[in-house]
């Protein structure tokens, strides 16, 4: 049956299981927006296209499905770019659909024409320029397949306006895929599994490094089984948090630049690292030549290009983490590493003496305490999305994540402005779940306009603004590494309560610890979005910290408390 290209687009999206699209209309995508009215897909009108890409990201991570963002050509498409790059760095499956000028005008510098496939080439897993209606069904199907399979990532479809208008046959779906060069590997060969198992069985100080891949592959149960069977402690990357229950005795929490002291020491003293779905980012390893010098490394990873990119893997196992672990676990023997765990816990006990959590109340608000209060109020079960900076690290350190996909944060790209839109996207994935955006005063201002999106959609998203009137993380670096010469970090902030209220969002300001619990309960009981501005201690720093260029064990630890 003949249909218009714009109709074929929505027919295909419906068949790919799309329920919600985050977008912003404009000239070159108008035929698609017109056809959209006839299809059972909910459209969320964002306030800036960056918000659409971040919402698609939050939705994808909270739902396990592919998130969809839509924008027009030119500025609409270029506004998506930060969100696409963010999805690329964090391997999040999103499909972005952008309008493009009619095919015959391409290259003529037509109104709102931009070379979007060119711009997004290095920040997409793949992209398409579609000039004819009869290509749409196949391209949409391929795009979803590529986005969600292998190492997931963003795929962009740049859709010429004429292709949306023109008619083509639309009969059966899905159309056949023609991707001769795209064959993700799923299983690792037996002899390497055996070698890995032998190393695991012989190790005395093993550590599992749990990355985002565990969540992407849905391998949380396999991880739990491997860790408990061989009694191996589990350290997480920032994006791996929530894959392994924080309350588990084998959980070491976060590793890396702002990782726990005992976690980083465990890695540095380990004789075997079992890296699961992670890529040895520089924020995780510290300086490479001093990284885990005694450890043999097993690297289980779906992307062959990550093997030996940063850290030499002695046994690389390329494949789908869930399947590889299922193959590996039977070869791993039950074991006991209680001596090793005792050593790690001794390190922890020593480090805990400096913990801010053991401070006497000082009448001020400190973000770690607030994160813990949010944890208490939400029963530890909320989806937490964050922006980027100090509050992000504190959220990662002090919200003890128990269940998978509860932390949604911008890891690899570190994109400020991510928190609020990602929270809105996450809410669409599961409208019954409590969603909190923990943001800083700087990042929040980048995408604060999405508050009205939340109101318009009735998105039940709570926003906790940690306002220290500073760009805190940059300030911290300037304090530590630039002789406290504060450059462009002191920030005048708007009256966030009035700002929220102007966006039709009820809001409160909290300045004293005794107001915190009541305010949190107020926000939780408020229908729809709510904002709390916490006016926090200005010059707190995130500890521990591995300075850039230092080895992972060379951490700056929190200085002993100075009494006033």
């Amino acid at each position: 049956m003949k249909k218009k290209g714009a109709q074929i687009l929505w027919e295909a999206l419906v068949r790919e299981g799309v329920e919600v699209v985050f977008g912003y209309p404009g000239g070159a995508i108008m035929p698609a927006y017109d056809a959209m009215l006839d299809y059972p897909i909910h459209h969320v009108l964002v306030r800036h296209e960056q918000g659409a890409a971040h919402m698609a990201n939050g939705y994808a991570r909270a739902s396990g499905k592919v998130g969809v963002a839509m924008a027009t050509s030119g500025p609409g498409a270029t506004n998506l770019v930060t969100g696409i790059a963010n999805a690329m760095m964090d391997s999040v499956p999103i499909v972005c659909i952008t309008g493009q000028v009619p095919a015959h005008l391409i290259g003529s510098d037509a109104f709102q024409e931009t070379d979007v496939t060119g711009i997004t080439l290095p920040i997409t897993k793949h992209n398409y320029l579609v000039t004819r209606a009869d290509e749409i069904a196949r391209v949409v199907h391929e795009a979803f397949h590529i986005a969600r399979s292998g190492r997931p990532g963003p795929v962009l479809i740049d859709l010429c306006k004429n292709a949306q208008f023109e008619e083509a046959e639309f009969d059966h779906y899905p159309p056949p895929i023609r991707l001769p060069g795209y064959q993700p590997v799923t299983r690792a060969p037996l002899h390497l599994l055996q070698k890995a198992a032998r190393l695991i069985n012989q190790a005395e100080q093993p550590v599992i490094l749990c990355g985002h891949g565990v969540l992407m592959a849905g391998a949380e149960q396999e991880l739990l089984y491997l860790a408990t069977k061989a009694q191996i402690p589990v350290a997480s990357t920032l994006l791996g948090l929530s894959a392994f229950p924080a309350s588990h005795p084998l959980s070491l929490g976060m590793m890396g630049m702002h990782g726990e002291v005992h976690t980083n020491l465990a890695i540095q003293n380990s004789d075997l690292l079992i890296a699961l779905g992670m890529r040895f980012d520089d924020r995780v390893t510290g300086v490479l030549k001093a990284y885990a010098p005694k450890a043999t490394k097993i690297h289980i990873e779906i992307d062959p290009a990550e093997i030996r990119k940063n850290v030499y893997a002695d046994v690389p196992l390329v494949g789908d983490l869930k399947l590889v672990l299922q193959d590996l676990i039977p070869l791993v023997e039950e074991n006991d590493h209680s001596e090793w765990m005792a050593q790690i816990l001794a390190w922890k006990a020593e480090a805990d003496q400096r913990s801010i959590m053991n401070w006497e109340p000082d009448g001020k608000l400190h973000v770690p305490h607030l994160v813990r209060e949010i944890w208490n109020a939400t029963g530890g079960d909320a989806i937490i999305s964050t922006d980027v900076g100090q509050h992000q690290m504190w959220a990662a350190q002090y919200y003890a994540f128990e269940k998978p996909n509860r932390l949604i944060t911008s890891g690899g790209l570190g994109a400020m402005g991510f928190g609020l839109p990602a929270a809105i996207g996450a809410w669409f994935a599961n409208k019954d779940r409590e969603v909190w955006a923990i943001v800083g005063d700087g990042g929040f201002q980048m995408t604060a306009a999405e508050l009205t999106t939340a109101v318009q959609e009735g998105a039940n998203v709570k926003v906790a603004i940690m306002n220290n009137h500073f760009l805190g993380m940059v300030r911290q670096w300037q304090e530590f590494f630039f002789e406290k010469r504060y450059s462009a970090v002191d920030m005048l902030t708007p009256d966030f309560v009035k700002l929220a209220e102007a966006h039709h969002v009820p809001a409160r300001r909290v300045t004293r610890p005794e107001e915190v619990q009541e305010a949190l309960q107020w926000a939780r009981q408020t229908r729809g979005p709510a904002v709390i501005e916490f006016v926090v201690e200005r010059e707190d720093a995130v500890y521990p910290m591995v300075p850039q260029g230092a080895a992972l064990h060379e951490m700056i630890q929190r200085p002993p408390r100075q009494r006033a």
């Binding site: 060119g118 080439l121 897993k125 793949h126 590529i146 060069g181 795209y182 992307d303 290009a305 002695d314």
Partner: protein
């Protein structure tokens, strides 16, 4: 050192750009890149000569990253294998009637051909390995090269042997590159 890769890609618009962009993004320097059709009209063949300062480590990285491009079908490293490699150059030299014999002599020594003669210039076509072409250029330089065009190297392995494939999914990645003797057991 210099590595030579044979890369089979889908014959679609923009694929050359994707490949070239990848080399730039991953900070590799292309020495030469030649593209042309193959016996299959849907597949193009690229011969890419690239500097790999860290040897096989870089070669592995490059191959792995090439496979991340959805349009890349096959990557073979032919650097260490017996291959036939050819480059073609068109060299226009400043040569009046009195230098024609000299140029003609040089051309015949190199089995090159004179493909265009004008009153004050000659154009020579030479095919061969890069070394051979470089030698000819050096001998022509004193006579006066006006301009030159080169195709870049193309390569094909000798016999039925194919190049080394390091990546999984297409052949046995582990056996060919990862020297498991490095792992002590």
């Amino acid at each position: 050192m210099r590595y030579t890769f044979v890369v089979l890609v889908e014959n679609k618009p923009g694929v050359l750009n994707r490949v070239a962009s990848l080399f730039r993004r991953r900070n590799f320097n292309i020495e030469s890149l030649a593209v042309g059709p193959t016996e299959n009209p849907e597949i193009s063949r690229m011969t890419i000569v690239v500097e790999c300062p860290n040897g096989d480590t870089d070669a592995h990285r490059l191959e792995a990253n090439l496979y991340k491009l959805v349009n890349v079908i096959d990557v073979q490293d032919v650097t260490h294998l017996p291959t036939v490699t050819r480059d073609l150059a068109l060299i226009k030299v400043k040569a009046g009637p009195e230098q024609r014999a000299e140029v003609n002599n040089l051309a015949s020594i190199f089995r090159a051909r004179i493909v265009d003669v004008a009153p004050d210039s000659l154009t020579i076509e030479i095919t061969g390995t890069e070394d051979k072409i470089e030698s000819m250029i050096e001998l022509l330089r004193p006579i006066g090269i006006i301009e030159m065009a080169r195709t870049g190297q193309i390569a094909i392995t000798r016999g039925t042997q194919s190049g080394i494939r390091r990546m999984p999914g297409l052949s046995n990645y582990y056996e060919t590159t990862l020297d498991m003797s490095e792992v002590a057991f």
